[in-house]
Amino acid sequence: MPRIKIDHSKCTGCRHCEIACSLNHAGVANPRRARIRVFREGNVFFPVIAGPFVDAACTSKVDIRIGDQVYDMCLLCRASCPQKPFFIEAETGFPLKCDFCGIPPNPSCVHWCNSGALELVDD
């Protein structure tokens, strides 16, 4: 099954992927309408691709520790969730979800990611 592999250690935080996605799906440049967002945590950037829509927040909230950094799970979570403003279409309030840019997958975000942080793999 094709998947997008994310290597956050290569991500430069340039946000070109966000614009690639919003141009493809919304026809305009606007990170708030993209199905991929890049978040900075300390010195590291995490690209997060929108997953399924949930209509209520989780009841259990966790922080995860990797090395000496503590990360907020909500930030790394892929859900389009009422608890956070990401992956919700700014103008209409519709939830957003990555569709791999069609069948077969032709991911715009991967095409514009020059650092190698995003990669389309098939396994």
Binding site: R15, H16, I19, N30, F86, N114, S115
Partner: protein, 604 residues
């Protein structure tokens, strides 16, 4: 209107009021946007004789039409004002993410007027425009300002999307060497703008928004951008050198060619290049790449500077920092250079201007023109602690450092040795020795903004031979080269792009991207014409501010004293030989004034 938002925010700090205006589409036709628009609006609204630090001066932040649209390297926001250091018009380039976020917040341009009664922060968050007291932030370094501001945001997610520009203590104290710092320690080129922001009592601007930017022909635009990314990826300089080291890769090369100045431009050679090249950089710092908005090159290098003050949040030095703060002060220890660079970023000092000023003081002291007793500070070439101490004191305007903080020209003038100041129009020179790279020398002499490399990347052809193989020592074809690069730079800034892609792309490659984004049908010549118009507009402002052809010159050292040793031994700057040809090409009189017919042809 494609690309642009067409809106401008005017903030009057004296009255605490703001208004939203439409941008005249005719101005965009004539000046593209970005730097061109900023310069035009600034020259129309501000008296050239105005005191840069007075409330009548204005400060303009303006993003180009391509910024935020996904155009390759479309990240650049320009800051236009009158420099507190040189008194010329200045258009500093600011990359990072602020410019794009400003567009998403719904504005192409912010015009700041007046002076606030007490320190304030301007925030434009999701269409809520607020002038709020700076309270806890005032007095803090730039990265602390960002942290404190974000901590106080009530929405827990907002800090993820908010971008800031701020001044450090140097700007607050109105030190003329101060500049503005953007997006976590990215210095904005152009000295003297931080003091202008400080004089308005404006500590920072924060933006965030969710407006959409439309492009004219989306399908074609996406195809063109993809091609450009691939092109950049196959060019060795952009895909390897810049990506791996940032501009610091130039150090070794400039060293070999005898372009790298040393000890306040008294020499231009280094034998042990190993301890200053990329290898030394890699040994001193663990580098991580960071990209400005929509940039596939990602030349910005983050690192951990090993010092308790800076808790692992640093920028690795660029070529300009290594040259100006390091070798030009006789210092080659990378850790010291990194520290000095960090002090500049945190305190909000311009590395080139601050480095140049310290180097001038060092020369004055070495030659015995002044002494540590008079200056109450030690300045010795090669002594890292002198540099670090001086920078900290200049930024906080403590004690005797006040005098030095006025800049190298004032300092050298005070001791009757103006020849020890290596700069033009009051601005210290970027670290290229104009004797061994003639085109750059001509640019330094004629640039409207003082001797700054950022406004004409002639070294791309003179040193790196990317598009043309030119001999750096010869003057042949240099006036043409300089004019072309100056006009090209004006276009690129006005569109809101970065100049570095020119190391992998031709100027013509940008044209389809511009047209598909903006829905125009420019040819490369049309764009260059606009660039020329912008250059002349800036020139006109400077003329009215009191600058003439006598300011288009280089320090005497470069025309009188040949380089004493190294690979470029014996070279001398032939700037006076090239000047008439340059004026001619520009359609200017022998006195460097645009002729009426030139202005007519440009529609000025």
């Amino acid at each position: 209107m494609y690309g642009c938002t067409g809106r401008c925010l005017r903030v009057n700090l004296s009255e605490g009021k703001h208004s939203i205006e439409e941008i005249d589409p005719e101005l965009l036709d004539k000046f593209l946007g970005g730097r061109g628009l900023g310069v035009k609006v600034y020259s129309d609204e501000v008296d050239p004789q105005t005191d840069p630090l007075g409330p009548e001066n204005k400060l303009i932040f303006v993003s180009g039409p391509l910024v935020g649209t996904g155009a390759v390297t479309g990240a650049s926001c320009n800051v236009v004002t009158k420099s507190a250091l040189s008194g010329t018009i200045v258009c500093a380039k600011m990359r990072g993410h602020f410019g794009a976020e400003l567009k998403f917040a719904g504005f192409d341009m912010i015009i700041i007027e007046g002076k606030a009664e007490f320190p304030v922060i301007l925030s434009i968050l999701d269409d809520k425009i607020n002038i709020q007291p700076a309270l806890e932030c005032w007095g803090r370094t730039t990265s602390e300002t960002e942290e404190v501001f974000k901590k106080n945001l009530t929405d827990k997610w907002a800090d993820r999307e908010t971008y800031l520009v701020s001044i450090g203590p140097a700007g607050e104290k109105l030190v003329p060497l101060a500049n503005i710092v953007n997006d976590r320690l990215l210095s904005v080129g152009g000295a003297g703008i931080g003091a202008v922001m400080g004089s308005k009592n404006l500590k920072a601007i924060a933006v965030k928004g969710s407006h959409s930017l439309s492009v004219a022909d989306g399908d074609r635009f996406v195809r063109v951008v993809t091609t450009l990314i691939n092109k950049l990826n196959s060019a060795p300089l952009t895909s390897q050198s810049m990506s791996a080291w940032g501009s610091a890769f130039l150090v070794g090369l400039c060293n070999q060619k005898g372009v790298l100045p040393q000890k306040n431009f008294q020499a231009a050679a280094f034998t042990e290049s190993k301890d200053i090249g990329t290898e030394a950089l890699a040994n001193a710092f663990a580098l991580r790449s960071r990209g400005c908005f929509a940039c596939p090159i990602a030349c910005i290098k983050k690192t951990d500077v090993n010092h308790p003050l800076f808790k692992g949040k640093g920028m690795a030095p660029t070529y300009w920092a290594i040259g100006a703060l390091g070798l030009n002060c006789g210092i080659r220890d990378m850790t010291t250079i990194g520290m000095a660079n960090m002090i500049c970023a945190e305190m909000g000092l311009d590395p080139i201007a601050a480095g140049g000023t310290v180097a001038t003081a060092m020369e004055l002291m070495e030659k015995g023109i002044t002494s540590s007793d008079t200056l109450k500070l030690e300045f010795r070439f090669g002594q890292g602690e002198d540099l670090l101490q001086a920078l900290t004191l200049i930024a906080t305007k403590k004690g005797h450092a006040k005098r030095i903080g006025k800049g190298g020209e004032a300092l050298a003038g005070e001791y009757g040795a103006p020849g020890s100041f290596m700069g033009v129009k009051g601005l210290p020179m970027a670290p290229f020795d104009p004797r061994s790279i003639q085109g750059m020398g001509l640019h330094f002499a004629t640039c409207n903004y003082g001797p700054h490399h950022l406004y004409a990347y002639t070294f791309i052809d003179e040193l790196l031979n990317v598009h043309e193989e030119l001999d750096p020592w010869s003057t042949e074809g240099k006036p043409e080269l300089v004019k072309r690069y100056q006009d090209m730079g004006a276009v690129i800034d006005s569109l809101g792009l970065c100049n570095w892609p020119l190391m992998g792309l031709k100027f013509n490659n940008f044209v389809p991207m511009v047209n598909s984004c903006l829905g125009t049908d420019y040819r490369a010549e049309d764009l260059l014409k606009i660039g020329e118009r912008i250059w002349n507009q800036e020139k006109l402002f400077n003329m009215r501010a009191g600058f003439d052809h006598t300011h288009d010159t280089l320090p005497q050292r470069f025309v009188k004293e040949p380089i004493p040793g190294g690979p470029a031994e014996g070279q001398i700057s032939k700037v006076d030989e090239m000047l008439p040809g340059y004026y001619d090409l520009r359609g200017w009189s022998k006195k460097g004034e645009p002729l009426p017919e030139t202005l007519d042809a440009l529609g000025l």
